[in-house]
C-alpha cells in the first residue's frame, strides 16, 4: 500500500486521469465518435480516488452507470477502458459492455451496473465470499444519492450488518438524480444517518477532499478487515456536467442554478489537492504539471489504442454468454 508522497501523487494522478478521460469522452460524444450513453464523473473524482487508494489490489469494488471514475481509481487500464467505450474487441468487455459496464475482475473491479443499486447485493455477496473463504478482502460499493432510495440498498445493508460482512457502502451524494434534488426524495438530511437503521457507523465526509475520503475509508476498511462489519460513508459532492452527455438538450426546465454550479467548482477536488500538495511541500507546481502532462499523454495513448483496435467480429456475438457454448439448436 502506497503511503506519504507516493500515495498523494497517486491520488493526484488518478484524479487527473479521470478528469482527462471524461473530458475526452465529452468531445467524443460531441463529435459523435462515441455512441450510446455516457455519464461523466467530472467534479466527483476525489470520492472514488480517495476510497480506492485505501484499498489493496485484491480488494473489490462495484459501481454504477457513472462508471469511468471507479475503475480508473482502482487502477484500471485507461486503454482497455477507452477501447470498451468505442466497442472494440480489445476493450475490457470485448465491446459487449460499453461505457456503463466497465469491469476488471483481475484487480477486483466487479463491474459497473446500469441498473441503480442493483450492484449492492452483489457487493454484499462478494464480501460473504471473502468471509467464507477466510481471506480478508473488503468490498467498496459505490452508489448515488438517488439510488439510496432503492429497496436493494436496504436489503444489502441489513444483510451486511447481520452477517458482519466487510463492505463499505459509499454513497456519492452529488445531490441530484438526473434533475431531482435529493432533498425532495431522501427523507433524511444526511444519507449517512441511515446507518443507524443497520447498527453500523455512518460517516458524512467532504467529497471534494480526497484525503478526507481516504481517511474515512481507511478507518472503514480497518473495521471491515478486523471483522467489525460494514460502514456507510456518504461523500457530499457535485456533478459539474449534464447527468448524461447531451441530456440538457432535451430537458424542458432548469433544475439547478448557474451560481450553484459555480460555487461547487470553486472547491474542485484536483485544485484542492494540488494546493494541499504544494502547501504541505509534498510536491512542487512543476511536479504537478508533470503529472498533468503525463496523464494527458496517457489518455491520448489510450484513445489512439482504442481507435486502432479492431471491432469484435460477428462470430463473437454469442461468445461469453455461457461458460461453455450451448449446443446449437
Amino acid at each position: 500500500m502506497p503511503e506519504g508522497k507516493e500515495l498523494y501523487m497517486l491520488q493526484l494522478r488518478r484524479m487527473m486521469l479521470i478528469r482527462r478521460f471524461d473530458e475526452t469522452v465529452q468531445t467524443m460524444v460531441q463529435s459523435a465518435e462515441l455512441v450510446g450513453m455516457a455519464h461523466v464523473y467530472i467534479g466527483e473524482e476525489a470520492v472514488a480516488v480517495g476510497a480506492c487508494t485505501a484499498l489493496r489490489d485484491d480488494d473489490y469494488i462495484t459501481g454504477n452507470h457513472r462508471s469511468h471514475g471507479h475503475p480508473i481509481s482502482k487502477g484500471g487500464d485507461v486503454r482497455r477502458a477507452m477501447a470498451e467505450l468505442l466497442g472494440k474487441a480489445t476493450g475490457y468487455c470485448k465491446g459487449k459492455g460499453g461505457s456503463m459496464h466497465l469491469a476488471d475482475f483481475d484487480i477486483g473491479i466487479l463491474g459497473e451496473s446500469g441498473i441503480l443499486a442493483s450492484a449492492l447485493p452483489v457487493a454484499v455477496g462478494a464480501a460473504l465470499g471473502s468471509k467464507m473463504q477466510n481471506n480478508d478482502r473488503v468490498v467498496v460499493s459505490f452508489f448515488g444519492d438517488g439510488a439510496s432510495n432503492q429497496g436493494a440498498c436496504h436489503e444489502a445493508m441489513n444483510l451486511a450488518s447481520v452477517w458482519k460482512l466487510p463492505v463499505i457502502f459509499l454513497c456519492e451524494n452529488n445531490q441530484y438524480a438526473v434533475t431531482t434534488s435529493y432533498r425532495d426524495t431522501v427523507a433524511v438530511e444526511n444519507i449517512a444517518d441511515r446507518a443507524v437503521a443497520y447498527d453500523m457507523p455512518g460517516v458524512l465526509v467532504d467529497g471534494q477532499d480526497v484525503m478526507a475520503v481516504y481517511e474515512a475509508t481507511v478507518q472503514a476498511v480497518q473495521r471491515a478487515r478486523d471483522g467489525g462489519g460494514p460502514t456507510l460513508l456518504e461523500a457530499r459532492t457535485y456533478r459539474y456536467e449534464d447527468h448524461s452527455e447531451g441530456l440538457n438538450r432535451i430537458l424542458r426546465e432548469p433544475y439547478r442554478t448557474e451560481e450553484e454550479v459555480a460555487r461547487w467548482k470553486e472547491r474542485d477536488p484536483i485544485k484542492l489537492h494540488s494546493a494541499w500538495l504544494i502547501e504541505q511541500e509534498v510536491a512542487t507546481q512543476e511536479e504537478i504539471e508533470a503529472v498533468r502532462n503525463d496523464v494527458r499523454q496517457a489518455i491520448e495513448d489510450a484513445l489512439e489504442f482504442a481507435r486502432q483496435s479492431p471491432y469484435p467480429e460477428p462470430e463473437d456475438l454469442f461468445t461469453d454468454l455461457y461458460s461453455d457454448p450451448l449446443p446449437a439448436r
Binding site: 455512441v35 450510446g36 450513453m37 470498451e84 466497442g87 472494440k88 468487455c93 465491446g95 459487449k96 459492455g97 460499453g98 461505457s99 456503463m100 459496464h101 451496473s113 446500469g114 441498473i115 441503480l116 443499486a117 442493483s118 438517488g146 439510488a147 432510495n149 432503492q150 429497496g151 436493494a152 438524480a177 438526473v178 434533475t179 431531482t180 425532495d184 426524495t185 431522501v186 447527468h243 441530456l247 432535451i250 430537458l251 424542458r252 426546465e253 433544475y255 471491432y311 469484435p312 467480429e313 460477428p314 463473437d316 456475438l317 454469442f318 454468454l321
Partner: protein, 320 residues
C-alpha cells in the same frame, strides 16, 4: 389530421386525458423535466398532477396500485428494463389484485415503458419484456407502432379500468405521421391491417413494423403481395384477423423485436399452428431478436435485431 411525431402524439394523448379527467395523474423519475422526451411541459399545465418520484420503482409502481384502488387513475413512466426492480408490484399486486379479491376493485393504471434499441445502450437498458407480461393474466398490453396508434391506444389505455402495460418504442420517437384531429380512441383487441396482400401474411409488432412495411413495398415491386398486420395490442390479441389472413395467404411470418424464446412471435405461431394449421402451406417463420443479450458494440448490436434483410429472407423462406 395533423402531422406530428410519435412522442408528441403520446404527449397529446396524456394532455387530452388529463384535461378530461382530473383523476388522471403522472408519476415517474424526473418526468417534469421530461427526460424520456414525452412528459416535458405537462407540469406547466398540471402542476400537482405530474409527480417526480424518488428512484424507487417498486415503491411508486406499487403506490399506483393503491392510488388506483382508492379512485385515482395513475400513469406511471419508466424504461422497460427497469421493470424488473418493480416486478413483484406489477405481478403480485397490479395483475393479481382484482382477481384474487373476487373483483372487488378495479385498477385503472397505465404503466408506460420506453424501449430503447439500436442506440448502443447495452444489456441493462435494452429489454423488451412484453412477452413476459403476456404470460401474466390480468394485464392488458398495448404496443403502438405509429403516431396515430400511439395517441389512440394511449387514450384507450387511460380510460380502461384495468392495468395496461403500454410499451413505447423509442426508435419511433421522432417518426412523424398523421394523427386524427378528433377524440379518437383506438380500441384494444383490433389488429390493424396496414397493407393488404394475398401471398403471405406478415404479423409485425413495435419497432419492426416500419422495416416490415419497407420490405413489403419493395417486394410488391417484385410481384409479391404481402399482407402486413400489426396486432397493436397483444392482450387482448386479435387472433381472428391473423387467422383470417393466413387462411387467405397460407403463409405466415411473424416479426417481433423481443428475444425469440417464448416471444409473442412464438405465441402467435403456436396459435396458428393449432387453430389455423389446415390453412398453412409452408413453415411459419419467426424473425426476432436472437437469444443473446444486447451487446454494446456498434459492430455487434445490429446483428441481434430483426431488420429488413432478415424480414425479406423470412418472407422468401415462407414463399418457397
Amino acid at each position: 389530421m395533423t402531422e406530428m411525431t410519435y412522442s408528441d402524439a403520446l404527449n397529446l394523448a396524456i394532455k387530452e386525458e388529463m384535461r378530461r379527467d382530473d383523476k388522471v395523474f403522472l408519476m415517474g423519475e424526473s418526468i417534469r423535466g421530461g427526460i424520456y422526451g414525452v412528459t416535458g411541459g405537462l407540469s406547466q399545465e398540471f402542476d400537482d398532477r405530474v409527480i417526480d418520484t424518488p428512484l424507487s420503482e417498486a415503491g411508486f409502481m406499487g403506490a399506483a396500485v393503491g392510488a388506483a384502488a382508492v379512485g385515482m387513475r395513475p400513469i406511471v413512466t419508466s424504461l422497460a428494463s427497469f421493470a424488473y426492480v418493480a416486478m413483484d408490484q406489477l405481478i403480485s399486486q397490479a395483475a393479481k389484485m382484482r382477481y384474487m379479491f373476487g373483483g372487488q376493485v378495479s385498477l385503472p393504471i397505465v404503466y408506460r415503458w420506453g424501449m430503447i434499441y439500436g442506440n448502443n445502450v447495452a444489456a441493462h437498458h435494452a429489454d423488451r419484456p412484453y412477452p413476459l407480461f403476456m404470460g401474466i393474466p390480468g394485464l392488458k398490453i398495448a404496443i403502438p407502432a405509429s403516431p396515430a396508434d400511439a395517441r389512440g391506444l394511449l387514450k384507450t389505455a387511460i380510460r380502461d379500468n384495468d392495468p395496461v402495460m403500454f410499451f413505447e418504442d423509442n426508435n419511433l420517437a421522432g417518426w412523424r405521421g398523421e394523427v386524427p384531429d378528433d377524440d379518437v380512441c383506438v380500441p384494444f383487441g383490433q389488429a390493424s391491417v396496414i397493407r393488404e396482400g394475398t401471398d403471405v401474411t406478415v404479423v409485425s409488432i413495435a419497432g419492426s413494423v416500419r422495416p416490415t412495411i419497407t420490405v413489403a413495398e419493395e417486394m410488391e415491386a417484385d410481384g409479391v403481395s404481402v399482407e402486413v398486420i400489426d396486432p397493436r395490442t397483444i392482450v387482448p390479441l386479435d387472433t381472428k384477423t391473423i387467422l383470417d389472413s393466413v387462411e387467405k395467404t397460407g403463409r405466415l411470418v411473424i416479426v417481433d423485436p423481443a428475444h425469440q424464446s417464448c416471444s409473442v412471435a412464438s405465441e402467435i405461431s403456436s396459435i396458428v399452428a393449432q387453430e389455423g394449421f389446415w390453412s398453412l402451406q409452408a413453415p411459419i417463420q419467426r424473425v426476432t431478436s436472437l437469444d443473446v443479450h444486447f451487446p454494446f458494440s456498434p459492430a455487434l448490436e445490429h446483428l441481434v435485431y430483426p431488420n429488413e434483410d432478415k424480414i425479406a429472407d423470412a418472407i422468401n423462406a415462407a414463399l418457397e
